[in-house]
């Protein structure tokens, strides 16, 4: 099971994501933003960080990187894609996921252990969770406020495409407490919290991040 992790200028969690893939039983493969080549991987992680400095909008310039053309093509063919934090923003800018991210409503950077509720286990990246399970995943962002128009939010809710919701105080003003969503077929998932930081004893508040990776590995191995 080979999982590609894309590095953009300004990515800073790409090494953690590759380490998480390997710790969870997969084989991580480094992908480079300028290469229009996915190296035959079975799934892709778009990691967090500050791609291209986020000068225009978070994720806006990364979306046009050569590797993203291939990611978008592969995602259309059903390949699992996980976007974490800035990666989530890139997936929104790429129109693989609806909505957009703007600055946190309180205008400050936030970094904390965030409690989440798993709202959908019908995705490639969440199948090993229990429906409604409460988990704790590291959250750290400046531009983490998920926004979309009301019809889009209603559609996401109605189609069961809200994957994760924040528990407790809303950390960034995200509409309807949405922390993560999925596409129509459940293969593309984006979320603001960082599962790759919650995979190893002694590092991070939990091991809840492991099941993101073991879910997709089990799926691909059994496919």
């Amino acid at each position: 099971m080979r999982i590609g992790v894309v590095t953009f200028p300004g990515s800073l969690d790409d090494h953690d994501a590759r380490r998480a893939v390997d710790l969870c039983g997969g084989e991580s493969v480094a992908l480079w933003h300028r290469d229009a080549d996915l190296r035959g991987v079975d799934a892709v992680v778009i990691p967090g960080g500050f791609s291209y400095g986020d000068y225009l909008r978070a994720g806006a310039i990364s979306r046009f990187a050569p590797v993203m053309t291939e990611v978008i093509r592969a995602a259309a063919g059903g390949m699992p894609v996980l976007g974490i934090c800035n990666g989530f923003q890139i997936l929104c800018e790429s129109h693989l996921l609806p909505g957009a991210m703007i600055q946190n409503d309180h205008r400050t950077f936030i970094c904390r252990d965030q409690r989440l509720r798993v709202e959908s286990t019908a995705t490639a990246w969440t199948s090993q969770f229990e429906q409604g399970e409460e988990i704790t995943i590291v959250l750290k962002n400046q531009d983490g406020q998920f926004v979309a128009d009301e019809p889009t939010l209603d559609r996401l809710e109605g189609e069961g495409r809200v994957a994760f919701r924040y528990l407790g105080e809303n950390p960034n003003g995200s509409y309807r407490d949405i922390a993560g969503i999925t596409d129509e077929r459940g293969t593309v998932v984006g979320l603001m919290p960082h599962p790759e930081h919650c995979v190893e004893t002694g590092f991070g508040p939990s091991l809840d991040g492991r099941r993101f990776f073991t879910s997709v590995i089990e799926r691909v191995v059994s496919a």
Binding site: L56, R57, A60, I61, F64, C92, E93, P98, G99, A100, I102, Q103, N104, D105, H106, R107, Q145, V147, A148, D149, G173
Partner: protein
């Protein structure tokens, strides 16, 4: 050298944290009458020679595809920069001999 202005604003229904920060600071300076602040983005695109209709069409397309995100932002204006507007700051690194300090 012609220049084209592209003005982008957050959609009215989207919260503008930057604008709110500015709004909060105004009364501290004695500006009590401004009830709301929305902060936008202005892009100034330069072309060689005069601005043509084709340049404007390309600018509109760039505005919709890269300069704005239609999910959260509106392109409120695309127009040629004319001398009726305030002088723009010199563009750093621009070619030609007209730039530079006085």
């Amino acid at each position: 050298m012609g220049r084209i202005v592209v003005d982008v604003m957050l959609k009215p229904e989207i919260l503008d944290p930057q604008g709110q920060a500015v709004r909060g600071a105004l009364p501290r300076l004695g500006f009590e009458d401004f009830t709301d602040v929305r902060q936008g983005k202005r892009f100034v695109l330069s072309v060689d020679g005069p601005v043509t209709d084709d340049h404007l069409a390309q600018a509109r397309e760039a505005a919709q595809t890269l300069l704005s995100n239609p999910v959260i932002e509106d392109v409120v204006d695309v127009h040629e920069l004319t001398h009726d507007e305030p002088e723009q700051a010199p563009i750093t690194g621009a070619t030609g001999s007209s730039g530079g300090a006085a």
